[in-house]
């Protein structure tokens, strides 16, 4: 089999960049959302749960179109970001990162929420009787116990972000070097004669990334189970 060409490398590098930022920036939001869903007792919790999971159910093209409407230059948020902060999302790699983050968000939140729900609140109660404030309890008891779950969520989200296609291509199109991530590149290669071998190499890479991520998140999930069980 031939080596990767420059176009393919470009797609791989871009996918890594997009997935990295999508994961890193959604991590704190995902954790806060997971905490709110697992522990919060507030009006609209079910609604929030629904909204978080929406991208999992909606056709990706719908999510992408909604993103375009909202974050495009003519959209209310996109126009604001462009005017005030000079941040443009539409047809840029930053937009690809946003689309990937939104599509990966349900997976991330789900893994974190399961980890949080597995923590026995009695341990946190014990920590508070030992003199720990709420923040300290979170930092010294809750967070270490859910750390594997948080990591598992991040790994899954990263893999999902690497492979996001529908919402990305709808929102930011398929511009080489800017928004052509691995799936978009595979799609583009398949549109031209003789592109099959390049597409196939990227397909293999995608499968490898997905498998690695699944194994890793499984392994992390087992670790959290062992931690919680070790009482």
């Amino acid at each position: 089999m031939e080596r990767f060409g420059p176009e393919e490398w470009q797609a791989v590098a871009l996918s890594l960049k997009v997935a990295f930022w999508a994961t890193v920036l959604s991590l704190p939001v995902g954790l806060a959302t997971a905490l709110a869903l697992a522990r919060g007792r507030f009006w609209g919790r079910q609604l929030l749960n629904g909204v978080v999971h929406l991208p999992l159910i909606l056709p990706p093209v719908v999510t992408g179109y909604l993103l375009l409407l909202t974050f495009g230059l003519q959209g209310p948020v996109g126009g604001f970001l462009d005017r005030v902060f000079g941040v443009t999302l539409a047809f840029r790699w930053t937009g690809a990162a946003l689309a990937a983050a939104i599509m990966a968000f349900p997976l991330m939140v789900r893994a974190m929420r399961l980890a949080i729900e597995a923590v026995d609140p009695k341990l946190e109660e014990a920590a508070s009787t030992l003199g720990a404030s709420r923040l300290t309890v979170f930092r010294t008891v809750t967070l270490p116990l859910i750390a594997p779950g948080v990591l598992a969520g991040a790994v899954l989200a990263f893999a999902k972000a690497m492979g996001e296609f529908g919402a990305t291509i709808t929102f930011v199109s398929n511009i080489p070097g800017e928004t052509r991530t691995i799936p978009s590149a595979i799609y583009a290669f398949l549109q031209v004669p003789g592109g099959e071998s390049a597409a196939f190499r990227l397909v293999l890479l995608s499968v490898a990334v997905a498998m690695a991520a699944l194994f890793m998140s499984e392994w992390l999930a087992r670790r959290i189970a062992a931690r919680i069980a070790a009482r």
Partner: protein, 389 residues
């Protein structure tokens, strides 16, 4: 010989803590709380030492301890520990849990699974920055030195509970709250921990609020007893007074009713018998590993006491004490509970109504109490603890 328990007395000696508050009151509770369908309405003052909250399950013991710890918020009233007000509904005081400085030992240990035993013990120090207690001393007191490097998951129930006690001690608390710390353990594990609790009581002088519904634990540990019933205080008082009170029989149940007497090791006879001096005479027990002079407590169950109006002769029982009848309490059924004065202490005896009538038992009548010979339960006696002189 009816002596089903001998318990080490708190060592008389310098305590490393001064007595608390006025009149030596350590814990003062006066609260009302509505918890679902359950009403808690309790008030009592407890001196230093071990105060046992005694009552059936559902009587409100755990809710009361949680209220003291701040984990349950009463609707009204006041809670003070050692003169420090932790809760006062009228004055709007409600000290947050982390600032109450009460070491809570839970029924299920609740050790942090992600930390080693050592890090569990040092948790309070780490999060508060206070240097509470001496790690080596606590580790030594509880015999947990070999466990320090382990994870909680690798501990037995008894070991985990000892670590939990150590963790609470090292938070430098003003008082220790122990919510049935032995309830989840089997008899052997209980026997393993009780001596450590006795050492804790004698060596630290730390006041302890101890929840239990086990009479053996009460007899062994309590200096003060608060009996709860349906969320109210049924009786409260010094352990020795309360346990020899006939009105307690209804709460304790006929099988568990019995008096606790202070005793002192008078002689080691050498024939496998240890002689104990109580205020009403001498008792012989199967050998106890304790030096002459050691203060102990013996528990004598009401159902193990036989009454005679003349001193019995030619009888196998070794322990016969001259007593005077103080009071008789007839319940339902055929039994009568007789309260007896034995020297400076009180005993309870359970006899049938027919016997009471035949013997003409009445207040003021002198009798002899024959303490039946029974096997001494190891868990009831401080044998596992090396004597300290």
């Amino acid at each position: 010989m009816g002596v089903s328990g001998a318990v080490r007395e708190p060592a008389a000696g310098p305590r490393n803590r001064t007595p608390y508050g006025a009149r030596g009151v350590t814990l003062s509770v006066q609260i009302r709380a509505r918890l679902g369908a359950f009403d808690l309405d309790v008030g009592f003052d407890a001196p230093a030492g071990v105060t046992v909250l005694f009552g059936r399950s559902g009587s409100g013991k755990t809710s009361l301890v949680k209220a003291v710890a701040g984990l349950v918020r009463p609707d009204a009233g006041r809670i003070a520990v050692g003169g420090r007000v932790l809760f006062d509904a009228g004055a709007g005081i409600d000290v947050p849990v982390p600032q109450r400085r009460l070491g809570y030992v839970f029924q299920e240990g609740r050790l942090f699974p992600h930390l080693s035993v050592r890090d569990n013990l040092l948790y309070a120090r780490r999060v508060t920055g206070r240097r509470g207690g001496d790690l080596d001393r606590v580790v030594d007191l509880l015999g947990i030195a070999p466990l320090l490097a382990r994870r909680p998951g690798a501990l037995s129930g008894g070991e985990a509970q000892r670590v939990a006690i150590g963790r609470a001690l090292l938070s430098d608390p003003d008082m220790l709250l122990m919510d049935e710390p032995l309830a989840a353990l089997d008899a052997a594990r209980k026997a393993e921990i009780l001596p450590y609790l006795e050492r804790l009581r004698s060596e630290t002088g730390l006041p302890i609020l101890y929840v239990s519904h086990n009479m053996a634990e009460v007899a062994r540990l309590a200096t003060h007893v608060v009996v709860l019933e349906d969320g109210r205080v049924f009786r409260a008082g010094a352990a020795e007074d309360l346990l020899s009170d006939p009105s307690m029989v209804r709460v304790l149940g006929v099988r568990d009713a019995g008096a606790v007497l202070p005793a002192r090791v008078a002689a080691q006879a050498g024939d496998g018998v240890t002689e104990l001096a109580v205020s009403g005479g001498r008792l012989c027990l199967p050998e106890i590993e304790a030096a002459v002079g050691t203060a102990l407590r013996v528990r004598i169950l009401a159902q193990d006491v036989i009454l005679a109006t003349e001193r019995p002769r030619a009888i196998s029982a070794l322990n016969i004490l001259p007593v005077t009848v103080l009071a008789l309490r007839r319940g339902h059924g055929p039994g009568v509970i007789v309260q007896l004065q034995a020297g400076g202490d009180r005993l309870l005896a359970r006899v049938t109504r027919r016997s009471a009538d035949a013997l003409g038992l009445a207040p003021g009548k002198p009798c002899f109490a024959v303490l039946k010979s029974v096997a001494v339960a190891q868990s009831d006696i401080g044998q596992r603890l090396a004597p300290e002189g």
